[in-house]
Symmetry: C2
Subunit: 303 residues, 2 copies
Amino acid sequence: MIGTVTLNLALDVTYRVDDLVVGGSHRVTGIRQRAGGKGVNVARVASTLGHQVLALGFVGGQTGEIVAEELFDAGLTALLTPIRGETRRTVTIVNGADGDATVFNEAGPEISADEWRAFHDRMPWGRLGVLACSGSLPPGLPADAYAEIAVRARHHDVLSVIDVGGDALMAAATAGAIVRSNAAELRAAVGELSVEEGARRLVTAGATAAVITDGARGMVAASNKGVWRAAPVEQVAGNPTGAGDACTAVVAAAVAESPEPDWAEVLKSAVAVSAAAVLTPVAGDIDVEAYRRWQPQVAVQSF
Amino acid sequence: MIGTVTLNLALDVTYRVDDLVVGGSHRVTGIRQRAGGKGVNVARVASTLGHQVLALGFVGGQTGEIVAEELFDAGLTALLTPIRGETRRTVTIVNGADGDATVFNEAGPEISADEWRAFHDRMPWGRLGVLACSGSLPPGLPADAYAEIAVRARHHDVLSVIDVGGDALMAAATAGAIVRSNAAELRAAVGELSVEEGARRLVTAGATAAVITDGARGMVAASNKGVWRAAPVEQVAGNPTGAGDACTAVVAAAVAESPEPDWAEVLKSAVAVSAAAVLTPVAGDIDVEAYRRWQPQVAVQSF
């Protein structure tokens, strides 16, 4: 089973308006709301691809209840740690005129040390094949929260896939995780190296593997067996939000099936699923048919 | 007791952001939420001025629970009719750079015929001195909902103050209500007359009285005893949202104390309280000290 960790779960609310004007008053013509946070996107994609998923995170207050209900309605099994604070919302305004999205992200509730401990205590390590962690940290958690999870996972012989940037990226690598990031975050962590060199550097630092998205240039994977680059299938227009999370989902699924997957094969799936995510308007959704069609077509080069 | 009717109650959520950019992604740096809708502003101002208030409206779902809690926390007694739908939210984005507000209004839940009947059935007519109605109608209610309330109020010997525009303004006048509106809405209802003539026309149509805000030119009142115009105290800079609701609150309070108040005196209070509302950043709040200082200074002219 794939455990997906979303430390800062959200209720993502989308408002449609006819013509967004700063300083104006707008009638909302459409409302959609669902559970969100990058880890939830990972869970949705993994579940869509037929994998058993356990969504992990914190919920509090009435917004937390709505999030828990929505996960249930989406068919996602969840193990949620209750908190005193109120689960955050994000509000996205979609402009009817051009479809542009303007996003407002609440910071999220303060997590206490006791609540963080309760989260660890209820982690069902024995049932997890892999743990995928992604998204922002809520206030109150230590900056190295993901590295802490990776260390605990390793202690329980569970592999972790951690999608993170900044200082936390190198910390997760050092903790032995499979790290997921993008080229810009990679450079912020390792300096001005090529993506291939940077990914290799993360493995040298201790990462079991590194999978780095490189925008329109495709993706790079590194492990102690080598370095691979996959080219994109074709240029896809659409909504890139959630494409990286779809990549994390197939990486986690591959690791759940085999702790030492064929990274060239994983990259093919990762490139195809990311493009299939761009095709759909909502993060967490993928065009499964496009994914299956593209997957065998992805070209991978070994270094 | 003053009953305040808010048929489309809302949870008003205010987000503060550093620099609002259409198409951008924003961290919310501050969140405030409270019960809203024009009738709630009326209730808050009347309560602030020492009047006993009963807030009436519909609530549903988890947002409805938050609204009910917030009214309780604000010290406002409420008699709320439960509905199947979810109470709406409004989201206001306040730009930290210039304080400009961008507003998004959800339409509100559909009210069924049964729920509308339940609202009437629980109206505590015997305890009400006056009923003040204001704000938009939720989907599902008849367009003449306020006139229907005015007719029922009259049947129970309760005066009603109805703040409304468009066709509903003339309907409320015909039903014998004390009508509240602004100069633009008045003209839309009676044509290109002076505000004084238009107010008189509403009384001729059946209104017990008419109190019309005329922007920076002050206010006009009409009854079968005459027509009066009050000049503004001084030019006040601030937030005009809620100024009209403050006016409605003092009109309702005056009528609760005497069914035939001295309208020249009422206008003095109405002008002063509206200016005192502009001074405060949040609709429903007033600067009580400024109100008390300005009230005796307002100049009223009789026609």
